[in-house]
């Protein structure tokens, strides 16, 4: 039972990282980024290609791949998303959705649909004795590093000027601009940062999950449910809901395997009935 819950926390770490990126992007840009899962997949593939073709190891890939994809994200925002933003939100839905399919198919064409192997970094190959049970060291590392990253984002958002501006712009874009604060300047870095978080989750996933072109689209539907459960645009909510959904689905997998796919959505429906704005969302935001 405890071990299942711990599995859930590790799975939840991926949900939390992805949902966090989606939440800051949605908050700041009002864009639901359907390509988020594709960038997670590209993160995993990026580290696979680096290792396979150039022998670049995990510890280099972990910072490098998110930075490169984050920069690619800023270019994407400048070239396309910014131009579509003044139009109906549907245009950016369709754009990011189409982009996800394109990225997925490009990778599929190059590497096929089968999973590619990615070894665990040798330093984390063993197990850790957690007192009640032993657990693979790599999974413990994933959990720890995710908690640290989510915590760091939280500190930046609540304790720094840029965080205050991002939160202000998310809640009241018009008032923030009327106060003389240039909101547009922060949109590109925030988008790039959200993409980098997705890529980071992808690199972390490579050694413990199948690296294949569909890994992002398999995961992202659940992540959308996580964001809705946490409350659209709520940064804290998305992280908390990420870990919670991880635990619920791991326990569900173990005790009621027949429901494992639907459990998250049952949870989402229940939360929405109880709190229509999500657990940490504000009613007003709807």
């Amino acid at each position: 039972m405890l071990q299942q819950a711990f599995n859930g926390l590790v799975g939840g770490a991926f949900y939390a990282l992805l949902a966090l990126g989606l939440a800051v992007i949605f908050g700041m840009l009002g864009v639901v980024n359907f390509a988020h899962g594709a960038f997670y997949m590209l993160g995993a593939f990026g580290s696979y290609v680096l290792l396979d073709s150039w022998g670049v190891n995990f510890w280099v890939a972990l910072p490098l791949v998110p930075v490169v994809l984050g920069v690619a994200g800023t270019v994407l925002e400048r070239l396309f998303i910014r131009r579509l933003a003044p139009l109906d939100p549907l245009y950016n839905f369709l754009f990011t959705f189409g982009l996800a399919l394109i990225l997925q198919d490009l990778v599929k064409r190059e590497y096929g649909v089968q999973s590619q192997p990615y070894p665990r970094p040798s330093a984390l190959g063993g197990s850790v004795d957690l007192g009640l049970f032993t657990y693979p060291a790599y999974q413990v590392f994933v959990l720890a590093v995710s908690v640290v990253v989510c915590g760091a984002v939280w500190v930046v958002l609540t304790r720094t000027r840029v965080g205050m501006i991002v939160r202000a712009a998310t809640e009241r874009p018009e008032l923030t601009r009327a106060l003389g604060i240039d909101v547009a300047r922060w949109v590109t870095p925030v988008f790039g940062f959200g993409i980098a978080l997705a890529a980071f989750a992808g690199v972390l996933a490579a050694p413990m999950r199948a690296v294949n072109p569909l890994m992002g689209s398999d995961l992202i539907i659940t992540v959308f449910a996580v964001v809705v459960i946490g409350g659209l645009g709520s940064v804290f909510g998305s992280v908390a809901a990420g870990f919670a959904v991880g635990i619920v689905s791991a326990l569900g997998n173990y005790y009621v395997p027949s429901l494992s796919q639907t459990l998250v959505f049952i949870l989402m429906a229940a939360v929405l009935l109880w709190r229509p704005a999500g657990l940490f969302g504000r009613e007003e935001a709807l």
Partner: protein
Amino acid sequence: MAGPVRGAPVLAARGLVREFRGFRAVDGVDLDVAEGSVHALVGPNGAGKTTLFNLLTGFLKPTAGSVRLGPHELAGRSPEHVARLGLARSFQITSLFAELTPLQHVELALAGRTGLGWRFWRSDKALRRFSGRAAELLEQVGLDGHGTTPAGALAYGRKRALELALALALDPKVLLLDEPTAGMGVEDVDRTVRLIQRVRETGDRALTVVMVEHNMSVVSSLADRVTVLQQGRVLVEGPYAEIRHDPRVVTAYLGDSNAAH
């Protein structure tokens, strides 16, 4: 009531037009706001008052025409740029950050103006260096003692007072108030009128104010000049005492009894 002041125009619009899919919400408006005056924009619902406000402050781009604030052309500039040039606005609908305290609101507004912009990692301690000025502004609008209550928990009249403090934090040349007494009871209306009078006179010289206002008693007690808008055009302009009996104004307001009380 203040006497008519006719200084040089500090804010001037020429031939402002805004079309929405062929409909001209603002249709060739000229407006001169004299330095140090209170200028009211009135008119029936749908006359284009709020659209005009949004054109002046950069929230809408004009289809044609110009807006000058002193030496600066404002048409086509972004809202944040307009605000930094000295044209501050309030919103018709109460618009505050629910979780920030009044003190934090004003600190944010002060920080925005000084444009520390890119200094990313400065902690919120950097904001606190504005706290002296922020406390002063809160006192000015009568919110001393409420500085640390989350804004979401403030009473309606206090929220509007906080909005006024935010606009003042920008140290504006011209203050635009969009229906400052909307939705208020008689007592709050009186308090707001006194508040606006008081904050205008706080600086070295009287602050220029442009306001959209439905309540004619507020207009009569505050405004030096009144511009009456109808269907996106200026119907008549002059001191309140003159325009109130103008037959065109009386006609324009017929069928909008709401606005005439």
